[in-house]
């Protein structure tokens, strides 16, 4: 295991396997009455969120607390246009506090790499720009394996704004390492150039969903509206929204996933989101276990 988790790209299949195995032990811990273990007692973690986030931040914070770390939250409102301290100075200051982990969420791709190069603490990417969101992909993989037993050979359809989705990117890197068959579905304006990963691209959702084992929906970001990626949310839902009829095209035991927060009625119907096939809430629970596993393993990791 390396010192940092900057992206799935940088992890080996073995590293990923180790995280997923360890996460399963941590999931057991989460079932106990006392959900806290002293594993990382005395360690300090700073959650450095340059972008607003409720879910990911809460999940990390819970994971950190259950590992008995001391948690510092350092939120920087993105709305602030005041030219203040540079990122470099901010992270050097934080390092001087003597932290062991930096969990970083930033709107610019590559920031976790930049930080990892400049500090000794372990850096965990909690989402950088449109690059990666590695812990999300790990928890998605964990959730899939929990239900399907494996990733190998599964048909995974990822639907929506692939181009701007760090969740999609990390999932593509992870799933391709485990030989899943990846289908990208969405409007042509939102599908990036990713042929190198052996993905299949479908602009027609019905066609793309046929026989899928996993239907991974992505959030449509409202700020994409009015920028001509698609004309309206109504039209978007008509062609790329997941409803029960479309879900019926996938395998009967297909899982419905969503990283949240969902836009009900825009990318997914309530019936689909709440159907028995949905594992959306399992994803939330598994997120804590996976993040605990990552932090536990990184403490023993080596600086690259």
């Amino acid at each position: 295991m390396p010192k940092d988790l900057v992206g799935i790209k940088e992890l080996s299949k073995r590293d990923i396997g180790q995280v997923l195995d360890t996460a399963s032990s941590f999931k057991d811990v989460l079932r106990r009455d006392i959900k806290k273990v002293p594993a990382l007692r005395g360690k300090t973690v700073v959650n450095l969120f340059f972008e607003p986030s409720t879910r990911t931040k809460t999940s990390f914070e819970l994971a950190e607390k259950r590992l008995s770390t001391d948690v510092l939250n350092f939120s920087v409102p993105t709305s602030s246009v005041v030219k203040g301290e540079s990122l470099f100075d901010t992270i050097k200051t934080i390092e001087a506090y003597g932290v062991d982990f930096i969990v970083i969420r930033h709107a610019s791709s590559g920031v976790p790499h930049f930080i990892a190069e400049n500090v000794n603490a372990s850096v965990i990417n909690a989402g950088d720009g449109t690059n990666e969101h590695p812990t999300q992909a790990l928890l998605d993989a964990f959730s899939i394996i929990e239900k399907k037993g494996t990733l190998e050979g599964l048909n995974v359809a990822i639907v929506g704004d692939i181009a701007h989705s760090r969740v999609a990117k990390s999932n593509i890197y992870l799933l391709s390492k485990f030989n899943a068959r990846i289908r990208l579905i969405g409007p042509p304006t939102l599908i990036p150039c990713m042929e190198d990963y052996g993905v299949e691209v479908f602009y027609d959702m019905d066609e793309g969903l046929r026989g899928a084992d996993i239907v991974m929906m992505l959030r449509i970001q409202m700020e994409r509206q009015g920028r001509s990626f698609f004309p309206s949310t109504q039209e978007y839902f008509k062609y790329w929204g997941l409803d029960m009829k479309r879900l019926g095209l996938a395998r009967k035991d297909a899982l419905v996933m969503h990283p949240g927060p969902m836009n009900r009625g825009i990318e997914i119907s309530s019936q689909a989101a709440d159907s028995p096939q949905s594992v959306i809430l399992d994803q939330v629970t598994n997120g804590i276990a996976v993040r605990m596993a990552v932090m536990y393993l990184l403490t023993g990791g080596e600086k690259q």
């Binding site: 360890t22 032990s25 811990v29 273990v37 002293p38 403490t299």
Partner: protein
């Protein structure tokens, strides 16, 4: 097998020792009521299972057997290069008000037992915790003493003790060897 390794106990020796400990446990606890065996991963788990079989044979009573992984409770995390693999923890019953016998293969510094007691306490409040070990090799760093000891084997700091189990595909055996 490295040349320096010397067999201290064989299959039969181990068998006899475990039979004795099983009797001691029953005797000390005046039966098997509220008794629970928890093996420390990994060697302790095998021994706990075998002890439970012996107790069943003697007393015709089924006692719960569990396993405990102490990785998350160790005091040397962050000092080690690779983290120990987190193995299964399976506590089969509510330990509150139970008499829990912790089982391990070798007791050395006592730090694992300290970690195991901390871990166990997170599952409830046992009436009593007892400790059973196959080998006591000395060199304690904490004030911990087993209630049931298979064999005392005084060792030097440069020697190591290896316990092998059939459950792991090997012959039951306890070996001592000088560390390379």
């Amino acid at each position: 097998m490295p040349e320096m390794a010397k067999e201290l106990l064989g299959k039969k020796d181990i068998e006899r020792i475990l039979s004795r400990i099983a009797h001691e446990i029953i005797e000390k606890n005046k039966g098997t009521e509220d008794l629970c065996l928890i093996g420390i991963q990994r060697g302790g788990v095998h021994i706990a299972r075998r002890l439970s079989q012996k107790i069943r044979a003697i007393e015709n009573a089924e006692i719960p057997v569990g396993s405990l992984d102490i990785s998350l409770y160790r005091d040397d995390l962050g000092m080690r290069k690779e983290h120990p693999v987190v193995r299964k923890t399976d506590i089969p019953c509510d330990v509150t008000d139970k008499r829990v016998v912790l089982v391990d293969d070798v007791i050395f510094t006592g730090r694992s037992i300290r970690a195991a007691m901390d871990a166990l306490m997170d599952f409830g409040r046992p009436a009593q915790i007892q400790l059973a070990v196959l080998i006591d090799r000395g060199h304690r760093e904490l004030p911990i003493r087993p209630d049931y000891t298979g064999k005392n084997i005084p060792t030097s700091g440069v020697e190591s003790i290896e316990v092998q189990f059939e459950e792991d595909g090997m012959e039951d055996k306890v070996l001592i060897q000088a560390m390379g």
